[in-house]
Symmetry: C2
Subunit: 323 residues, 2 copies
């Protein structure tokens, strides 16, 4: 593989080169990994920056429809839009979010757009690295906006929050009781809560839900880095394409504020440091899963622990001194 | 400190020696750690085994009253009872569960009982190790039953489930809606759901709640290691000391079954292996937090990542090759 050629085609915005580069960073082969690191280091020098938007919402709230409508609105303004997914659950279900591109038929055919389904992965660490590197590749390819989708399960929101500049939470209209179903931790990550399906019969319920969340958001501690009226809740209809322009205006206003106050750059710097530390931790632990003397010794000591011949603490101490 | 003396006094059931030994395993000093490991290895040879019972329940369900009533019932039968706590939240709140022994005044004055409050800890790994080692010390001191209490937050239940032979979930009487408030994962860990406060005005509600949970438990997949009617839900009143004898009978029946089927020993072996692997992981990562060249290099590279001079991946790769 000619890395220089791949890098230059990717930098010129070639979507096939981008897809190939993402496949490279997803590979677990050691030689691919080395090539991927060289490619990423090379492309990091081109200094392009996209707006990274995280999007979370449980199945059924209309995430695909939202991404399609919102994405087409942005490409209609001349922006290039990439869509990625963090889906740690796909390994179990066998499926993957975004896997069915037909759910976003128009956007996937748009030459200004790039959609990458989430491959199945066995652990969140692998998903995080893959997505982080795919984001870097999309930025280098000149995309203006990167949407990073996740399904509202477990810790995947935390991963996405560490990858994005803005975090959107997409919700369906709900009765007041269901409000409690949204975990406080996820509420606290959101910069903008969008209540979807504000159309037809559901419109009154959607507006009530917006008011409920607006009330709940006021109870959260204000974040010093944000203007006074953020985080906020708004109604949208992805289906009827209503409220999307307003939502985009709010996002741009928040980003402009954060850039001015320096928070935007500071957050990116902190995220980079976070990922560096995560990579180091995972790299250290990888010693234990790679075939070799460490893994063999661990298996032998583990068996002795299981048989009760040695305490877990003593066995761990013995293994660690030899590492 | 004379370790041989401490070990022999502890093995003879001296509660002050036990308390001192637990303080030793809680210490972060390197020489204390070494002594603690020697003590644990020494005592592991005495082969005593207690019944380890995990107990979870959110604040307000009456955990302290339950532990006092249940504990006194066991000591009344001539059993020696130790009470420990896993409380990862105490670092934040400043307090600690079990910290106020006056909540269990009678039990704390019982010469057959030993109560150890949870010290504040900054991470769950530290809490897990401390509790695991305290359990081993209580077993070596000849206690028959060890109650390991936790508050229903985050991952502390998972830690306790890996430490105990039986897991109890203590709940308050509730309306049907609140049933959903118990996370499915925690329900699945429970061997016995005890609905407390089945006394006075709340008794009808408690019985209804028991029926609700019994129904919910039937929907869970049956565990192959258990008799057909487990897990089960029962009403108790810690205040009026009702239902405690029945609950204890059920616990003993389940334990007898698990011993016969070999599951009891298998679970302990798996737990030991789990803790061995956790210890190895934490020990590896400790390299990064101990003062020394690794930590210095990590700080230097982290700063370079923050300034955008190097990508997180490249910095991690550089650090890992030198480790």
């Amino acid at each position: 593989m000619d890395l220089t050629d791949l890098a230059s085609r990717l930098a010129s915005g070639d979507r096939r080169a981008l897809a190939r580069a993402i496949t490279l960073v997803e590979s677990r082969r050691a030689d691919h990994r080395e090539a991927a690191l060289a490619l990423l280091a090379d492309l990091a020098r081109n200094g392009r920056e996209a707006l990274r938007i995280g999007l979370s919402g449980t199945p059924g709230v209309g995430k695909s429809t939202f991404i399609e409508s919102f994405g087409l609105r942005l490409t209609g303004q001349g922006l290039k839009v990439a869509v990625l997914a963090v889906d740690p659950s796909s390994a179990r279900s066998g499926g993957s979010i975004l896997g069915d591109k037909t759910r976003m038929e128009r956007l996937s055919r748009d030459p200004q757009a790039f959609i990458r389904p989430s491959p199945s992965q066995t652990h969140l660490g692998g998903v995080a690295r893959r997505t982080r590197e795919a984001v870097a590749l999309c930025e280098a390819a000149g995309f203006d906006v990167i949407l990073i989708e996740t399904v509202g399960v477990g810790q995947s929101e935390t991963v996405v929050a560490q990858l994005c500049d803005l975090f959107l939470l997409l919700l369906a209209p709900a009765g007041g009781d269901e409000l409690q179903g949204v975990k406080r931790g996820i509420m606290e990550m959101a910069d903008l809560i969008l209540v979807n399906k504000a159309d037809g019969d559901l419109k009154p319920a959607a507006l009530r839900t917006v008011a409920d969340y607006a009330g709940a958001l006021r109870l959260l501690r204000r974040r010093p880095q944000d203007p006074e009226d953020f985080p906020k809740a708004m109604p949208v209809s992805a289906l009827e394409e209503q409220g999307l322009a307003d939502a985009w205006t709010e996002m741009q206003a928040l980003v402009a504020w954060r850039r001015e106050t320096g928070h935007f750059a500071r957050r990116r710097a902190e995220q980079a440091r976070h990922w560096f530390e995560e990579e180091v931790r995972e790299g250290l632990l990888a010693v234990l899963s790679r075939p070799g003397p460490a893994r063999e010794r661990m298996a032998r000591l583990g068996a002795a622990v299981t048989r009760g011949e040695i305490t877990p603490e003593a066995a761990a101490a013995e293994l660690l001194t030899t590492l």
